[in-house]
């Protein structure tokens, strides 16, 4: 029997970004003893990197805005692959989630009449993003963090213990969801600081672990984004959907090399910045796709008029959805019209006065000055696409955020799939975190409360022993003690692998072979590489001991990155069309018959043999869009996305 420390809670939230903290607040307010597992320090989650804002149709800047317009924009952005019910709930509930933040102390930028200011963003018809300069994510995470502290203060006043009802487990990583038959019964993980292993018994687990960007070489994502929740769900028997759709944000830094991929906020374009190629041409006018022809300006003059008078001008094409802009930049660079460092120019210096740039985009000004020696008030930035966001994720019930097929498991935020379809609009992530984070909290609490204490499932020792052996395997057999046989290990004859080397190879494979533009033979090759890497990762060995050992942590994260990468490659190979965050060089067109199909990834039962698939794939038809929601669109527009039979049904 493995020696682990053991806790018991009603609800465990895995992840402490926007979705996780919002879920935890809700569960605690509904009376559940709640634990939050935080991979880093409290308040450092990747949400802090969100810059532009929170999309919510409050109508503070343009009174014509409402949830129906937001819903339409979201569906268009996702090329109608979104789960319509999630898009509907999101559009309806986002304003309340933003206003609620003010009652917890958030301080958004204001309109002249004192309301929350809203800014323009790609794909949004009206100014819609509540923001604080270009550090909105920081405001969101700090507000939620401080709300949690205030709840802990209430508990302290009542019980004498800050952590009696809501505890943050800082710098802990979950490696397994524990199950009792088909039901969730807790989590297994380790503490970074000490390397101690621990179990939390809990009937309800909310996954809110974010994305997968660290599987790619050029990414805006932080080290935590290793697809943990995606992999935990798969391993627990829950399916993932839409894994082929990855958003490459059009504007990441391209120079210097060490910062390649770091995000340059879309607000630069929302506030007037334009994209030019090496010939000085504003090239986006040549890249407006047919489905968006009526909505975007055809000339520079018309586009420039829009900032001051949006009612009588169409939007600049720099504000097309992110997938369109990323592809356009990619094409310009490929055609030899790129910048010296392989990007394009993003210029705001000739568009706004220097003081205004510093006021509206302070952290961009700071970031370029400090990291690239570029003064964005005086010169153009060089930018190019960077892996930014995973549209795919855990298949969930749209109302309750419950994962399909695993009672007690919930998922919210980037780790959940469906909401954004094939492409997410900027600003829709922070609102997604709040809307579905809260919903996951509500329904996880409801689920846990409905189970009487005696009916609570519990994890057997065998399962815990297996999880412990798996976690300790990278140390070889000594540290693992009497680890279960067959859990890998440094078998005879196998060369020890360096986890850092394996990770770099994985990132190169995904970047080169399953990146922004995809081809069948390359993806097939990627799958071979991934199978090989998976085999080699069984022999990943680390030096040192268990106390705060990053090599060990990476060796464990590799399992997750490899599983998720296989989902991405397999689904991307299967979908023979281009849509949103999935662009096939060999199938360049969008195909209406593919719109009705979700690709579902599931774990292949039993440990996969060398060279075989760890993940299996099946096609599943999507639910028909509810008629009253379809009625929000013109038939002509729907015909671009839906088949004739769907429309006539």
């Amino acid at each position: 029997m493995t020696n682990v420390e053991r806790h018991a809670y009603d609800v465990v939230v895995v992840g402490a970004g926007g979705a996780g903290l919002r879920a935890a607040i809700e569960a605690r307010e509904r009376g559940m003893r709640t634990a939050v597992i935080c991979k880093s320090l409290f308040g450092k989650a990747h949400t802090v990197m969100a810059e532009g804002g929170i999309a919510a149709s409050m109508g503070n800047v343009n009174e014509h805005d409402n949830w129906q317009v937001h819903f339409r924009d979201t569906m268009r952005g996702g090329k109608f692959l979104n789960h319509w019910r999630m898009a509907e709930l999101h559009a309806k509930e986002a304003p309340d989630r933003v206003w609620e933040l003010e009652t917890w102390g958030a301080l958004f930028d204001r309109t002249p009449d004192g309301r929350i200011s809203q800014r323009n963003f790609g794909g949004h018809e009206y100014p819609r993003l509540a923001h604080v300069g270009d550090r909105t994510g920081l405001e969101l995470i700090r507000t939620l963090q401080q709300k949690i502290v205030s709840l802990q203060q209430e508990d302290h006043a009542e019980t004498g213990d800050y952590e009696s009802r809501l505890k943050i487990f800082q710098e802990c990583t979950v490696t397994r969801i524990l199950k009792d038959d088909d039901r969730v019964c807790g989590i297994f993980g380790y503490v970074r600081e000490s390397g101690r292993l621990f179990v939390i018994d809990a009937p309800a687990v909310v996954l809110a672990t974010g994305g997968i960007g660290k599987s790619f070489k050029v990414t805006s994502n932080s080290w935590e984004y290793t697809g943990d929740g995606h992999a935990l769900a798969l391993l627990a028997g829950a399916p993932l959907i839409n894994m082929e759709f990855i958003q490459f944000h059009p504007t990441g830094m391209v120079w210097p090399p060490s910062v390649k991929g770091i995000l340059v906020t879309e607000s630069v374009r929302g506030d007037g910045g334009v994209l030019r190629n090496s010939e000085g041409k504003r090239f986006m006018f040549g890249y407006i796709p047919d489905v968006f022809k009526e909505k975007y300006a055809q000339s520079e003059e018309e586009a420039d008029g829009w900032y001051a008078d949006p009612d009588r001008h169409r939007r600049p094409p720099e504000l097309l959805p992110r997938d369109e802009v990323a592809r356009a930049i990619n094409s310009e660079v490929k055609a030899g019209r790129g910048t010296p460092h392989g990007g394009v120019f993003l210029d705001v210096s000739t568009r706004l006065p220097a003081e205004e740039i510093k006021r509206r985009l302070p952290s961009m000004h700071h970031q370029f000055k400090e990291l690239a020696d570029v003064d964005i008030t005086a010169e153009a930035m060089e930018v190019g696409p960077t892996c930014h966001y995973m549209m795919g994720g855990v298949d969930v019930d749209p109302d309750t955020a419950a994962a399909t097929g695993v009672p007690g498991l919930f998922a919210a935020g980037e780790v959940a799939g469906g909401m954004h379809g094939s492409n997410r609009l900027g600003g829709n992530s922070l609102s997604d975190l709040l809307v579905f984070g809260r919903r996951a909290g509500v329904f996880a609490a409801e689920y846990a409360a409905a189970l009487a204490q005696v009916d609570r499932p519990a994890a057997g020792e065998e399962q815990i022993d297996a999880a412990a052996a798996e976690a300790l395997r990278p140390f070889g057999t000594d540290e693992a003690g009497d680890a279960a046989p067959g859990s890998g290990g440094d078998g005879p004859g196998a060369a020890a692998e360096n986890p850092y080397t394996l990770h770099q190879e994985l990132q190169q494979v995904m970047n080169d072979l399953v990146g922004i533009i995809r081809r069948a033979p390359e993806m097939a090759k990627a799958l071979e590489h991934l199978a090989d890497l998976r085999e080699r990762s069984r022999h990943a060995l680390v030096e040192g001991h268990r106390q705060f050992n990053p090599g060990w942590h990476l060796a464990i994260d590799l399992r997750n990155m490899l599983l998720v990468s296989e989902c991405v490659a397999r689904a991307a190979l299967e979908r023979t069309e281009s849509r949103g965050g999935h662009t096939r060089d060999d199938h360049p067109d969008m195909d209406r018959t593919w719109r009705k199909v979700n690709l579902v990834c599931e774990l292949t039962p039993g440990a996969p043999e060398a060279g075989t698939a760890a993940v299996s794939l099946r096609r599943r038809p999507m639910d028909a869009i509810r008629p009253d929601l379809l009625a929000l669109f013109e038939r002509d527009e729907l015909l671009k996305y839906l088949t004739d039979e769907e429309l006539d049904a």
Binding site: G105, L107, G114, L138, G551
Partner: protein
């Protein structure tokens, strides 16, 4: 592109003790200190412990002391050092070491809990909050804080004075009190909390003698002393005489 071999000294050890370890390591154009630490991990010391997240100066995780100065490693470019210079990286000194460059920063989370939270105004429903931009800007400056805790690390009240820690919240959390005090709609007063005087009475504002060390190391360029601590002292002074407030206001006026 040109690369060279740099000489690094990195503190390695744990709560029991440790020392500086020498490394020769490759440096390329445009790299920052954190890149070099990562290269050491990948090639020479796989278990070298360091905290980091965003690598873009936004999360405040990779705080350490570089050649003795508290800094974010991700925002410290190698080009600020000459190629011959030895770069010494040590953990933040004010907090107990856990391992290598990682320290136990729980002091800060304890202090955060001791500051009474925002009190929403009674009778103003969500969605009805109205505030002028110029009124929120003062608190917004303080909310730029990324909680890197470099100000806490450098503050001489606690840097070498463990005995002051229980009574002193540190610049970050005194600034948090100022932020709430300046929030246009905070209703703490109605619950009987005077934020400024509690800063003095309960959070050790009086220990601060406005040497501005915190402001100097702030990677966000927040004017912690001038805009948060001195005004807070001025508001607290109604109740308690503090000679430093008088002095501080003189110094400030002279600079204007």
């Amino acid at each position: 592109m040109s690369s060279y071999q740099a000489h690094f000294k990195v503190w390695r050890g744990d709560a029991e003790g440790g020392g500086l370890q020498d490394f020769q390591v490759e440096v390329n154009d445009g790299e920052v200190v954190l890149d070099i630490i990562h290269r050491l991990q990948a090639t020479q010391a796989s278990d070298l412990a360091v905290r980091w997240n965003c690598k873009a100066g936004k999360c405040g995780s990779c705080s350490a002391e570089v050649n003795g100065r508290p800094r974010l490693m991700c925002m410290t470019r190698m080009s600020v050092f000459s190629r011959e210079e030895t770069v010494t990286v040590t953990p933040m000194r004010t907090f107990p070491v856990i391992r290598d460059l990682v320290t136990d920063v729980s002091f800060n989370y304890t202090k955060a809990r001791e500051v009474p939270s925002f009190v929403p105004p009674k009778g103003v429903p969500a969605g009805e909050y109205r505030m002028a931009q110029q009124d929120v800007e003062r608190s917004q400056e303080f909310r730029k804080c990324i909680e890197c805790f470099l100000c806490q690390d450098t503050c001489h009240v606690v840097r070498d004075h463990e005995e002051n820690k229980p009574a002193f919240a540190g610049p970050r959390f005194l600034m948090r009190i100022a932020e709430l005090d300046m929030h246009p709609l905070d209703a703490a007063d109605e619950t009987g909390v005077n934020r400024a005087s509690s800063a003095q009475d309960d959070h050790g504002l009086g220990y601060c003698n406005i040497t501005k060390c915190c402001t100097e190391v702030c990677p966000e360029g927040i004017h912690i002393t001038d805009n948060a601590l001195i005004p807070l002292k001025e508001r607290a002074v109604d109740r308690k005489y503090d000679p430093l407030v008088w002095l501080g206001s003189k110094i400030r006026r002279r600079g204007q």
